[in-house]
Symmetry: C2
Subunit: 209 residues, 2 copies
Amino acid sequence: MATTDTRTQILDAAEHLFAEHGYRGTSVRAITKLAGANLAAVGYHFGSKAELMAAAARRVIEPINAAQCAGLDKLLARTPDPPVGELVEAFAGPLFDEMRAGDEGGARTSRLIVTILSDPAEEARSWTGPAEDSVRERYLAAFARALPGLSPQELRFRMRGILAVTAVDRLEVHQQPSPGCASPVAGEAARRWAITFLTAAMSAPPTRT
Amino acid sequence: MATTDTRTQILDAAEHLFAEHGYRGTSVRAITKLAGANLAAVGYHFGSKAELMAAAARRVIEPINAAQCAGLDKLLARTPDPPVGELVEAFAGPLFDEMRAGDEGGARTSRLIVTILSDPAEEARSWTGPAEDSVRERYLAAFARALPGLSPQELRFRMRGILAVTAVDRLEVHQQPSPGCASPVAGEAARRWAITFLTAAMSAPPTRT
DNA sequence: GTTTGAATGAAACGAACGTATGAGTCAAAC
DNA sequence: GTTTGACTCATACGTTCGTTTCATTCAAAC
């Protein structure tokens, strides 16, 4: 118990701090201090700071990946050609669902994902496993069937647009709290706004060349 | 000339490195080495690393801000209620135009903007002047007229979505080059894809509550 | 009771960082 | 010819970083 406890507390602290300050902006000392652990514990349990980041990222992303995968399976079980809106919801929804999971700890989950995606540090891009790629490719194929006439390049552009928009609340968090607008717009409202926004965007007719 | 030359070369190098590796991932030593200048030159010409970042950001953002402002002026001179598509183009267009400006140096311009917007370092958020806010507020008002029935909160969400999507190519650059898809999709194609994508997204009916 | 091995703790290592200092350079002003 | 002031340079300072080392703790196995 004591073993797992320290490991888990370090992971929790790392998730929190990496999400808030990025990879380079977070020191191992700050993580162990927040976790109430010794400085050397990171080296002992994870090997290095980069591997700790990878472990924290895996722990956060795996359930989201699984949910995205299950959502697509459910859709495809019903019809071989799901409509765009449902594909968007199945893909983008889990990113917001995780936000509501924990009472308060879940809020930083999606922030960590976006931090990793946008972190300029090289260490943040080395750990992506084949699971993420495979899910993305499956959605890509489903969207391609739902949006005939769209070139593969433009489709990929739009897929990346989905990821970018889910990053939106993080941009808000990083900026000074906008006056006159409650910063935590509640995960549920943001989720539905994003799906509205993205469904319309994905459904746009191909750009004429 | 020699004075301005060193200052400009430092600015160029800083723009390049900040865009690629972020604020914390870029050392003053790396900047001065790339610029062919002495380490102390940063302190002399700019005062500190944070002020250098602010100067580099200002140099990049000011022309974009001016273009966004002029574009809106031109639209409003024609009609008091411009359509959504033209508002999107006037707002998002300059972010891509700057990309094509320099032969190759312009490509990093928009990347620097996104780096600043998404950089977790506190220093990256302190310098935003009143000019940026005023332009954003003017567009906000114009979009509000073009999209009646949209709550102010959802409108702000969508505005942030525009910024997020223009960040899209940066996410691509940070990831390993996607196989089977030429990474530099040419600024012009990305520009038109983004405008298609965003016009449809902004034009979506309000999310029903 | 002794041994074992995982886990923790305190301290230190070398490297890299942002910044500061003071001497040196050089064209223009006088 | 001298002085001035903007600029560049080599170097050093103090801090913080990721990592390593080694002694210590402590429950379980023998």
